[in-house]
Symmetry: C2
Subunit: 325 residues, 2 copies
């Protein structure tokens, strides 16, 4: 498989934009977002997610467009669209399905479609591949090929950026994998890790955030227990932290696009397969209940008065996460 000549990045949010910008240092890149407002903002040098600064954005050679037709002729498509949950905490695959169909409208024979969106194992091959095939009339694995490389963007984190982290990759065939090694190897100094297959790469991502979720949930659970005992979780954790292998998690709220969402993706697939995900869903219940616990405590201690909540965003530098779930 030849070196990519033209890469289309589908979705220019806090994941796709910084990736497209660094790819454009090495390849011809077209960045597509269906939101014309976002495209106008980016063309004007502004990124409200704060991931890419204005000078870098103005200097980029990539084409930024809300016109899907501009992606025609790309030999690699990279999909970085949101994978949220719906009101029932079930995976909402509308965006990845939609992106797959859009790509299917333009994809040429021999092209590769790489997904970076966080999904449960099987979404790329069992859902996205067939969507592209149906929209294009091409055969998956013969006329076009799939890949998966989980995004590891930590919003607002200036240390673990896409050009420095290790990128996990997996291709549908060894030839695709080799091409992805070259592609991602060009943009990151952190190296490329080849996962055994696409489902393994999908699984690797979804457990990363689930692991953080259950660790925070454990600390939240013991915080509630200690509250009933009449001792401070902070005092207890200060003492536990003096053990050499205690893990430093603190009680608190879990929000944002990732940690509070990804475990439901894994849980969904587990339930489909008849395995009740006990600890994963216990973690979600506990963390989602912490807001109520904090609010109840405030109400109990401050029976009247108005409360000013400061810092409602997920983190200081992350305006995109300003809407709590």
């Amino acid at each position: 498989m030849p070196t990519p000549q033209r890469i289309a990045v589908v979705g220019l949010g806090y994941v796709g934009l910084p990736l497209a910008v660094v790819l454009a240092h090495h390849f011809a890149v077209v960045g597509y977002d269906r939101d014309a407002g976002r495209v106008a903002e980016l063309r004007d040098g502004g990124d409200r997610t704060g991931e890419v600064d204005s000078a870098t954005l103005r200097a980029t050679t990539m084409e930024i467009t809300a016109d899907a037709k501009a992606m025609a002729g790309a030999d690699v498509f990279i999909v970085t669209v949101p994978t949220p949950v719906d009101a029932n905490n079930e995976p909402d695959l509308t965006a990845v399905r939609g992106a797959s169909r859009t790509i299917g409208g333009f994809i040429a024979k021999g092209a590769v479609v790489v997904f970076e969106s966080t999904v449960y194992p099987g979404v790329t091959e069992d859902i996205c591949g067939p969507e592209i095939a149906a929209a294009s009339g091409l055969r998956c694995g013969e006329d076009f090929f799939l890949g998966y490389s989980p995004e590891r963007i930590n919003p607002g984190d200036r240390e673990h950026t896409v050009d420095r982290i290790t990128k996990v990759i997996a291709g549908q065939t060894p030839v695709v994998t080799e091409m992805l090694k070259e592609l991602y190897g060009a943009v990151t100094s952190g190296g490329v890790f080849v996962a055994r297959d696409i489902k393994t790469a999908e699984a690797a991502k979804v457990i990363e955030n689930a692991q953080r979720d259950i660790n925070i949930a454990f600390i939240n659970e013991v915080t509630c227990i200690f509250h009933k005992i009449g001792i401070s979780a902070h005092d207890v954790l200060d003492a536990s932290m003096t053990k050499w292998n205690f893990l430093n998690f603190r009680p608190g709220l879990v929000g944002g696009h990732c940690i509070g969402v990804d475990p439901f993706y894994l849980a969904h697939r587990a339930k489909e397969l008849g395995h009740e995900p006990e600890i994963i869903l216990a973690g979600r219940r506990i963390n989602d209940a912490m807001g109520g616990f904090v609010a109840d405590e405030i109400a109990r201690r401050l029976p009247s008065g108005r409360v000013l909540v400061l810092g409602i965003t997920l983190r200081r530098t992350c305006p995109t996460c300003a809407t709590p779930r």
Copy 2:
């Protein structure tokens, strides 16, 4: 409170023995175990737990005895007896209650009783203190005093030994705390951490092992899910480990005296207080079920034949943990 003149260590197992040996470098120590066989073995220079080597044991100045009366006149008692669970996974406090009553038979006014056994918050003050008071006729907090300092023995670990780790301590009064700082400060180069109070110190210990338990349980849960998906947990974890903050836990069985037991102590107290410990008990259920999962897989793949199980101990250097729960 003066420097301790005579310290009695109650229980010479894998926790009490190494502690008593290092204390004897600085203080007059009597080591008591109610098991005459264990005492004979130790007097003969043998420690089947492998924590103290023969030369060290033969050189110790401490008195090793199965005669409780030898503890008379001690100004500090340190209790290092087992705190297991019963057949219903409820805390079995028989040994700490028994040790408390034994101490109550000899304790003199002004003495301090320190517990190192892992317990839920409240056991030292609400159960052990009253037992000692009842057996001695002395008043807790006036005639005698309580302390707590959780043991952190990691069986077979030659790096994190009692003379090198940070010891968490808490005394019933500031004067007791100062004495414990001096006592434990003399034996460890890892320093002493003063917890806010005895319940906080009890809580700090019990969550250390519970945290490990739920982390292993999470990995075990996803291992079972990946098994149904048809991918290898080891392949997935190899990929996840390339993320900078992924925690290195592996699927496996949980046994031994600590990780599989301590969470039930915390869960017991939580339930007494009306708080259902969701994630803690989910972790216990998952880890206790892993033996069956492994056995079922072996049976499925090897429908006939005999299986030789090697390495049935908790770990290579830990004969005391040879009996799986």
